[in-house]
């Protein structure tokens, strides 16, 4: 995850990409095995809906013939029919409910699955574009929103239009003129709803973006809690959080207040239609003299009102769905942009699967993390490493040692030039095959929650207990693991907080060794390990994996001293390379690093160091002075204020 954004506007510009097209089509691809359930659910809903319309007529007959007609026989008969209807409706309702639950939960499951799969394929550039917090929200909250909307859609979304259309047809059969009143509502509602959606959607988009920010703040606070506490920055974090929390509050309030006109709008339409129907109906009844042969009757009016009510219910449901869809639209788009994001690392059509050997060739390689950065991180690197060699890389902080080796397993792609492993350009390899042969122990050692053995099996899922133990012995980790009461079953907390830095490093080395790679890269991976252990690890490498190309980045000259080739890096360039003895003779930088560590200072270096020292002293003094001065100024002000 590289994360230097050149400037904020550019970064946000990258984030607010155009919403992806065909959101729905993209999402629906994830339906897969839940298509059947997605179809069955609305089917049963329709059955349920039809029965719901049939039942009132059965009831009408029951009342007319049974109760009004005082016929116990009819009561039993139509009561029986009613119960059968209810039973069918119950069955249909149950099945539609079940299928809807399966379909929507399954859809959500597949969406999460697809998203996670996609995220796994992301390059670090991709991840930067989203940020960790955002990816998490897109996989959880956003999917839940879509799931709810989808469930609503396939159940109620089917039922409401069916009820609406059927009711309207019934109304039309009674009085075409009056049924037009309902139709008049449509443009009013349409304009209102579309206008509202247009106004609210951008706000919801912003809300979710703010949610990402909130998530990031919580994430950073959790990760950096030791820093927060040791600087007493609890209140500062609180303020940061409250600010974003407030923003969410405001944006949500704004959006939801706009949405609050939704149901009143529906009610308004409905009530207006009711009164209009009553008025027109009354006039027609009076005109017809309440004679069915001539025109409208009171019974017809009652029926019309019942249909009006049903239409109202259907519309209410539609408006609820509508709100849900509006809210979930932003979520759907966010999910979609994960699903359609193209990994910046692309694979070729016919990838090479076989890594021949562990040779590595850098041909005039340049590299930048971002196209916008002015200076390349690596500048014209030309290096050739033979298979089985041990190569040490040494250089100051920020000399791009890590960037150099991260190109080998293609964590990043070169910007210019080419990088070959085993004689083939890394971009031509199948990514999995390449990374299988390149084991890398990262500077930031990360273990995952799980037991030690589980963590180690990352290197090789099929490793036997003996193999694991052997790898740990090589990495000098077996000793301390045996001291744990649960040995290899010791539980590692997230990030490995319950083992020390040095222990973590050795576990990570063992994990890499289990891969039996052709190339092994240690990126400053023994910095927290004591010199003696460090030496033992290197000796083990030498004896046990002689054919593996070993690249060791280190701060300690001792760690690389015996390498076949030592590369001295300086500000993204190779300053010099050669064996220890050659470099001692030819490279002043190397010599001075060596001497600063062994204390065999030549007179000249002592001078140099003391000069450094004096410079620093002067700077520190200046800093202190300025600091005190600022504080004093501030202090005097307040004190002066007190005095007055």
């Amino acid at each position: 995850m590289s994360a230097i954004t050149v400037d904020a506007p550019a970064a946000t510009a990258a984030k607010t990409k155009l919403p992806p097209k065909h959101t729905i089509r993209t999402l629906l691809k994830s339906l897969r095995e839940y298509k059947t359930a997605s179809l069955l659910s609305p089917l049963f809903v329709v059955v349920e809906g039809v029965i719901e319309i049939v039942i009132p007529s059965v009831i009408a007959v029951l009342i007319d013939k049974g109760i009004t007609g005082r016929s116990m026989h009819d009561i039993w008969e139509y009561g029986g029919i009613l119960i059968v209807c209810a039973a069918v409706s119950l069955g249909a309702g149950f099945l539609s409910g079940r299928f809807a639950a399966v379909a929507s939960s399954g859809f959500a499951k597949n969406l999460r699955h697809d998203e996670f799969k996609k995220v796994q394929d992301f390059s670090f550039t991709n991840i930067d574009r989203f940020s960790t917090g955002s990816i998490i929200t897109r996989l959880t909250t956003d999917v839940t929103n879509v799931q709810n909307a989808y469930q609503m859609l396939i159940r109620v979304g089917m039922r409401a239009p069916v009820m609406l259309i059927v009711s309207w047809i019934f109304a039309y059969r009674i009085s075409p003129q009056i049924s037009l009143v309902f139709l008049a509502c449509i443009p009013v509602l349409g304009v209102g709803l579309i206008g509202m959606a247009a106004a609210v959607h951008p706000i919801f988009e912003r809300v979710f973006h703010t949610y990402d920010e909130l998530n990031n703040i919580v994430d950073e606070d959790l990760q950096g809690i030791r820093v927060v506490k040791s600087f007493n920055r609890e209140d500062h974090e609180d303020r940061k959080f409250s600010k974003v929390s407030m923003l969410i509050y405001r944006q949500f309030c704004k959006a939801e207040k706009m949405l609050s006109i939704n149901s009143p709008l529906f009610s308004l339409c409905m009530y207006t239609s009711l009164i209009t129907i009553a008025w027109i109906g009354a006039r027609q009844i009076v005109a017809s003299g309440n004679n069915a042969a001539v025109g409208l009757t009171t019974g017809d009016l009652t029926a019309l009102v019942t249909y009006a009510m049903q239409i109202m219910m259907a519309m209410m449901m539609l408006s609820m769905i509508f709100v849900m869809v509006i809210i979930s639209r932003a979520s759907a788009e966010r999910i979609c942009s994960v699903l359609t994001e193209e990994s910046t690392i692309r694979e070729v059509a016919t990838p090479v699967k076989d890594v021949k050997d562990g040779s590595i060739d850098f041909d005039h390689v340049s590299f930048r993390y971002s196209v916008n950065s002015e200076k390349p991180v690596l500048d014209d690197i030309d290096l050739h490493i033979r298979s089985g060699q041990t190569v040490g890389i040494i250089g100051g902080t920020g000399s791009a040692k890590s960037s150099l080796v991260q190109l080998i397993p293609r964590l990043y792609d070169v910007t210019e030039g080419s990088l070959k492993v085993g004689g083939t350009d890394v971009r031509d390899y199948d990514l999995v095959s390449l990374r299988d042969q390149v084991a890398m122990v990262l500077q930031k050692n990360i273990l995952f929650s799980g037991t030690i053995a589980e963590n180690l099996r990352w290197g090789n899922p099929d490793a036997t207990d003996e193999e694991i133990r052997h790898a740990c012995q090589l990495a000098q980790a077996d000793g301390f693991i045996q001291e744990f009461p649960d040995k290899y079953d010791t539980w590692i907390e997230q990030g490995g907080t319950n083992v020390s830095g040095g222990q973590r490093q050795r576990l990570c080395i063992a994990r890499a060794l289990l891969k039996k790679p052709k190339i092994l890269i240690l990126d400053d991976s023994t910095s927290a390990v004591d010199t003696k252990t460090d030496k033992l690890i290197r000796e083990a490498f030498h004896h046990e994996i002689p054919d593996t190309t070993k690249i060791i980045i280190a701060q300690r000259v001792a760690s690389v001293e015996e390498s076949d080739m030592i590369i001295v890096m300086h500000e993204g360039r190779v300053l010099d390379k050669g064996t220890h003895d050659e470099l001692m003779a030819s490279c002043e930088e190397y010599r001075s690093i060596y001497e600063s560590q062994t204390q065999q200072h030549s007179a000249q270096d002592l001078d140099k160091e003391s000069q450094d020292w004096h410079e620093e002293e002067a700077e520190a003094a200046a800093f202190k002075q300025q600091y005190m001065h600022d504080e004093a100024a501030a202090g005097t002000k307040t004190e002066g204020g007190d005095a007055r």
């Binding site: 699955h113 809690i225 920020g398 450094d612």
Partner: protein
């Protein structure tokens, strides 16, 4: 999460899904929302008393308007339309009047509907915000141990997924339930009005209905709780996976991660499907049982009319008339339907309560206790080096200030209880401390003494055994030793991230337990090996050490710690925005920024815990020189593996397996030719 959690999950039955909580020792075994959650949630809602009253009234008005439309028609027909039928010259005025009146009622209803929807937004979002803020504020007070033992992603889920469930509950479920309740109540009263025996019959039937519903709702609720837990679990997994993406890639571990994810995802699916199924079938069950009631009522009605049964209602006694029966039949449906609506909303409420109880669980986590009373103040030091005057100004001198009731003997009393040896140490520390004549102020000199300190993260397994050592004021003290020797633990104890189990730590003669934690931590700058940076510019990150630092101060601190040169080479220099924990920077660069952050805080004492482990040795020398100058005369603790880092320390202590095995200066220890010497020459490993 236990190891079992990674095992592939085959088809699980309902019962399995419910019972597999047992497999996860980390999660709350509670299957339902904790009791009292609802009450507590209402505590938050009731802060908006005025609005709630208006909302409740509006909801009732809207419900009445809605109910009115049902009754409206019959009245309209009977009283206003039928009388006009057949008249040659009908008078429309009464009908128009009635319609206008109705229109007014509808207008009021619509307005009420809008009003409560509108006002609810404030309440709902306000409650969510308050809860979020309270939760985060509480999170800040939790002890380090909480963060070390809880999955971060799961905690994060409470801020988003769990608070989100509240949104639906407050904005939809509660109002819907109220409005349905009003409708049901109206129907009940109307039924009582017409016939008491029939009402009783309906109530008995409804009681049976409610019993069935309870089963459905409680099942559904249980699964919703489960769904929230599983969601938290998925959240945790994604967080860990994304943060460890590099390792995943380097090990081609994508498939295994995917499988692991899918297992969790499947569990979430199971819970979600079950929860929603129960939720979805509630309404059909109620609706259709309502028809059953209808049929039963029709039979009842038929029998009643045929048999001329006696009836009594609130209006009086008589026989069942045809009209009464028909009205009762309609009313029975108006009574059972709202029950269904209420129970359907109930599942939403259950889910929200599940979310809320996870939130409250975090809020109820035991905060860090702080019984300390001694505070840290800036003082003006007199020329004799003993007289101290408290001041607001940063003078470069600090003092511990006791509260008025503290006579300065508390630490010695505590030591007396501990052991004679501890008392002796405390006595000596007290004598050497510079204390003002009234005993209220003690000069901060950085005199740290450990007496027989024993500590283990798990009390049964001590990491440190009987550690006794003294740091003299102004010394640079180094702790060296093999990995796992307990060096970092020592610093965790000094600033009280964890508390000692046995023994005592004295800081300028004061028991650290008596010092207020924020002041104690203010007195100790700390730079950790694992650097954590925050989203923001480089400048913001340095300023984290001292929030009111000027740009110049930050830059000066960066220069002092040798971070300036690389920062200037970043695309936007100090204004470069760091994201994702500053992961675009190398480990060494991140360490330089974190040292600058500590430098700008200008702390009275400093702990450098492997702070320069990723910085090359020559840069390290420059950084060290800078820090040594800044910290001149102040106590500094250095923890390192690299012996070059500790070489110029005043005292070096060699730790092994939680015990101090050697101490002295570099030269002394070399001369001694003991363990340090062997370590230094690389011929011995401490493990």
């Amino acid at each position: 999460m236990s190891s079992a959690a990674t095992a592939p999950v085959a088809m699980v039955t309902d019962e399995d899904t419910l019972n597999d909580d047992a497999r996860k020792p980390g999660t709350d075994p509670a299957r339902k929302a904790n009791p009292g959650t609802l009450k507590r949630l209402f505590g938050y809602i009731m802060k908006y008393k005025v609005r709630i009253v208006i909302i409740v009234v509006s909801i009732i008005l809207a419900a009445v308007a809605q109910a009115g439309s049902a009754l409206f028609l019959q009245t309209l027909i009977d009283r206003y339309i039928l009388p006009l039928v057949g008249k040659s010259n009908p008078v429309w005025a009464p009908l128009v009047q009635a319609l206008v009146l109705m229109g007014c009622l509808y207008a009021v209803g619509t307005f009420a509907q809008w009003l409560f929807n509108f006002l609810l937004v404030d309440v709902e979002q306000g409650v969510m915000k308050t809860i979020r803020d309270d939760m985060f504020a509480h999170q800040q007070t939790l002890p380090i141990a909480y963060f070390d033992t809880h999955e971060h992603g799961n905690v994060m889920s409470r801020y988003t997924n769990d608070t989100d469930t509240l949104r639906q509950a407050i904005s939809q479920s509660f109002p819907q339930m109220l409005s349905s309740g009003v409708t049901a109540l109206a129907a009940l009263i109307a039924m009582l009005y017409l016939s008491v025996p029939y009402t009783l019959f309906v109530l008995v039937f409804s009681a049976l209905l409610v019993l069935i519903l309870r089963v459905l709702v409680s099942r559904s609720g249980r699964y919703f709780v489960k769904q929230q837990q599983e969601l938290g679990d998925v959240n945790a997994f994604v967080e860990e996976a994304v943060n460890g993406q590099k390792v995943v890639k380097v090990f081609n571990h994508e498939d295994a991660m995917q499988a692991d994810f899918d297992a969790r995802n499947d569990r979430l699916y199971d819970a979600s499907t079950a929860a929603n199924t129960y939720g979805n079938v509630t309404m059909p069950v109620v609706g259709n049982l309502g028809y059953l009631l209808y049929v039963l009522s029709a039979v009842f009605g038929g029998l009643a009319i045929l048999g001329n049964w006696g009836n009594f209602g609130l209006t009086g006694v008589g026989v069942y008339s045809l009209g009464t029966i028909i009205s009762l039949l309609t009313l029975s449906r108006s009574f059972t339907n709202p029950i269904g609506q209420v129970s359907q909303q109930f599942t939403m409420v259950m889910m929200a309560l599940a979310g809320a109880s996870r939130i409250f669980e975090l809020m109820d986590a035991q905060p860090e206790t702080d019984e300390g009373t001694v505070t840290l103040v800036n003082v003006e030091l007199g020329s004799d080096g003993r007289t101290m005057t408290e001041t607001d100004r940063v003078t470069g001198h600090w003092a511990w200030k006791r509260e008025a009731s503290d006579d300065g003997t508390r630490s010695r009393e505590a030591a007396r209880k501990l052991s004679p040896k501890a008392l002796e140490v405390a006595q000596k520390a007290h004598e050497q401390a510079v204390t003002s004549s009234n005993g209220r102020l003690t000069l901060l000199r950085g005199d740290v003494r450990f007496t027989d300190v024993t500590f283990g993260y798990d009390p049964a397994k001590p990491v440190l055994h009987d550690i006794t050592w003294f740091a003299k004021p102004g010394q640079k003290i180094a702790l060296v030793g093999a990995t796992g020797a307990g060096k970092t633990t020592i610093t965790n104890l000094i600033n009280r991230f964890y508390d000692v189990q046995e023994g005592m730590i004295l800081y300028d003669g004061i028991n650290v337990k008596g010092i207020r934690k924020p002041d104690l931590r203010r007195s100790l700058g700390i730079v950790l090996q694992d650097v954590n940076l925050f989203t923001g510019t480089v400048m913001d990150n340095i300023r984290y050490g001292k929030l009111d630092a000027t740009d110049e101060e930050c830059i000066a601190a960066a220069k002092l710690t040798n971070a300036d040169s690389f920062i200037r080479m970043l695309p936007e220099g100090y204004n470069t925005v760091l994201e994702g924990d500053g992961s675009g920077l190398s480990q060494g660069q991140r360490q330089l920024i974190s040292i600058a952050r500590a430098a700008v805080a200008n702390p009275p004492a400093l702990i450098l815990d492997e702070a320069t482990s990723s910085i090359d040795t020559r840069t390290e020398a420059v950084v060290q020189a800078g820090m040594d100058n800044l910290m001149q005369g102040r106590t500094v603790f250095v923890i390192a593996h690299r012996l070059s880092t500790v070489r110029n320390s005043d005292v070096i202590m060699v730790l092994d397996h939680g015990r101090i095995i050697e101490r002295g200066s570099h030269d002394e220890l070399i001369a001694e030719k003991g363990e340090y010497y062997q370590l230094y020459t690389g011929s011995l490993e401490l493990e």
